[in-house]
């Protein structure tokens, strides 16, 4: 882990440098415009300083976003409607609910598909087709439907959308995992006269665990994307997705960018937790340290 820090740092620094250059280039037009209107002739350093500190920059500079992020996460009370923790928590809830739905749905479908050849032929194509439909198009329909069915908050449709995106990686991995035991291992259980159920519990399920945990990392990220997308076209007023939309609609790039980075931080946190759980499970299952 320690060894990786050097290269990562280099990449991060490079991105920040490119970002600063981009901020300068993209915000310069507005600075020059203002100067022309005022009839002044700004020096290069004046232009540069101005591009770094515009309130409504086309591309806010990294330090501006960092400051806004710090303000939104640390300074604002978590109950405040402008706190990123508050919005992040709302998105987090939908992400977790969707993640749970995705795991349960993905595992259940995988089990059905592996145990039944007919289901393999009929269910799998639908699962694949489901992922080709743009979620943004589907989201409003899911909201309307869940409202009609009596869900009075946006949490339910958001969780469904998040689950809709996250079940697929779990399904695909679990099908592969449950089928991973080779002919010899199946023959071995046959010589013991094991039942189909015993083959499943003693061999297929434990053999699928590495596949399962690998898919969780993808699924949790997909779930977060689903929760955010679920907040975009649905008139949500709370959640990181809603913040992004508000930021873009009201011309407040700082709100948009800080929400974007808050989402990235949340994703990193979720993946870190999943990785930690994976390692813990690996240790319990005797994985080579």
């Amino acid at each position: 882990m320690r060894r990786n820090i050097g290269p990562i740092l280099v990449v991060v620094l490079a991105i920040i440098a490119i970002w600063y250059a981009g901020s300068f280039a993209m915000n310069r037009a507005w600075t020059m415009d203002q100067a022309a209107r005022a009839g002044t002739e700004p020096s290069f350093s004046e232009v540069f300083r101005d591009t770094m500190n515009q309130d409504r920059a086309v591309l806010p500079a990294p330090h501006q976003v960092a400051a806004e992020l710090y303000d939104g996460i640390i300074d604002k009370k978590v109950t405040s409607k402008r706190s990123l923790v508050y919005h992040g928590y709302i998105t987090f809830q939908a992400t977790m609910a969707g993640f749970a739905l995705g795991i349960v749905g993905g595992v259940a479908l995988a089990v059905i598909i592996v145990l039944s050849r007919a289901m393999d032929l009929t269910l799998m194509p639908w699962a694949i087709i489901s992922q080709t439909i743009p979620v943004v198009a589907l989201a409003p329909m899911i909201v309307v439907l869940s409202n009609a069915l009596g869900a009075d908050s946006l949490m339910v449709p958001k969780a469904i959308i998040a689950g809709y995106l996250s079940f697929f990686p779990v399904l695909v991995s679990m099908v592969a995992g449950l089928r991973s035991p080779d002919a010899m291992q199946l023959d071995l259980l046959r010589t013991y006269g094991a039942t189909k159920g015993q083959v499943f519990w003693k061999l297929r399920l434990p053999a699928s665990m590495p596949y399962f945990f690998a898919s969780l990392k993808i699924a949790v990220a997909a779930s977060l994307v689903g929760a955010i997308v679920g907040e975009l076209p649905t008139g949500a007023i709370a959640g990181l997705g809603a913040r992004m939309l508000i930021g873009s609609q009201f011309g407040e790039p700082m709100i948009m960018w800080s929400a974007l980075f808050a989402a990235a931080l949340l994703a990193a946190l979720l993946i870190w937790v999943v990785t930690w759980v994976e390692r813990l499970a690996g240790r319990l299952m005797g994985v080579q340290a």
Partner: protein
């Protein structure tokens, strides 16, 4: 077929349907194996030796002929847990400890916890792996893993042990050691052993009966009852009898090869 016959094959044939047409894996194979015998099947690849063993274990169905194991069909024998099977690879579950792997058949067959613990301890001692119960497979060498897989096949009360090139992937020195251990174990347990190999010294050293097979179609070309004494130290391989027997096996293999 005498009263002591454990496994009996009569005019056994097995044809696999492949994309390149039918393949005669076994043709007209007849053989009786008696209680307590150590029978080796030797021959080049494609001679059907593994297929023959798999038919006895009900892992393949013959297309013609009849096999009985303990007087019943292989399927019934399998369901009665009449035999333990050792594969080419140890095939231990990486997520189970050595003890857990040996417990696997016992769990499936419904032994209670106390019986499981006792048998695990007992067979680990038998294969000289006492003290490794809590280790995971990756912590053991290849030879030790294969010993653990033999222990797994011995854990339940099957009086037949079927082994499909169990030491094929191991180096010569480890193989010698395991051969010695296997002989000692066979003497201690009185099991009937069917042993597939492609090594002449291994077959001659271990067996009371050597079945030489040849390919296309897979068939038995010679059955040799070993004249070697029951007591076999490793240096028996330098004796005249051993060398003569090896020679006869080699001749049998060559004859099968030339007949093609």
């Amino acid at each position: 077929m005498s009263q002591d016959t454990v496994i009996s094959a009569k005019n056994l044939s097995l044809t696999f349907q492949t994309n390149d047409g039918p393949v005669n894996a076994l043709k007209d194979v007849s053989l009786d194996i008696n209680r307590g015998e150590f029978v080796s099947f030797i021959g080049p690849s494609g001679c059907g030796k593994t297929t023959f063993l798999r038919v006895m274990a009900d892992l393949e169905k013959p297309t013609a002929g009849k096999v009985t194991v303990n007087g019943v069909s292989p399927e019934e024998a399998r369901k009665n847990r009449a035999y333990g099977y050792v594969f080419q690879a140890a095939g231990l579950y990486p997520w189970r400890t050595i003890g857990g792997n040996i417990r696997l058949p016992l769990e499936i067959m419904g032994y209670d916890k106390a019986a499981q613990a006792e048998r695990v301890k007992q067979v680990l001692e038998l294969v000289e792996l006492a003290g490794f119960e809590k280790k995971y497979p990756w912590q053991l060498s290849g030879g030790m893993q294969q010993r653990a897989s033999i222990a797994r096949a011995l854990a339940f009360d099957a009086d037949i042990l079927l082994m499909d090139e169990p030491f094929g992937a191991l180096d010569e020195i480890v193989r010698d050691h395991l051969n010695e251990q296997l002989l000692a174990l066979w003497k201690k347990t009185n099991k009937t052993i069917g042993f597939v190999t492609h090594s002449i010294p291994e077959a001659v050293f271990l067996s009371t009966k050597i079945v030489v097979m040849s390919p296309r179609p897979g068939r038995i070309s010679d059955v040799i009852d070993s004249p070697l004494p029951a007591e076999r130290p490793l240096d028996i391989r330098d004796t005249k009898e051993f060398i003569e027997l090896s020679h006869r096996v080699r001749e049998g293999l060559r004859a099968g090869h030339e007949a093609e």
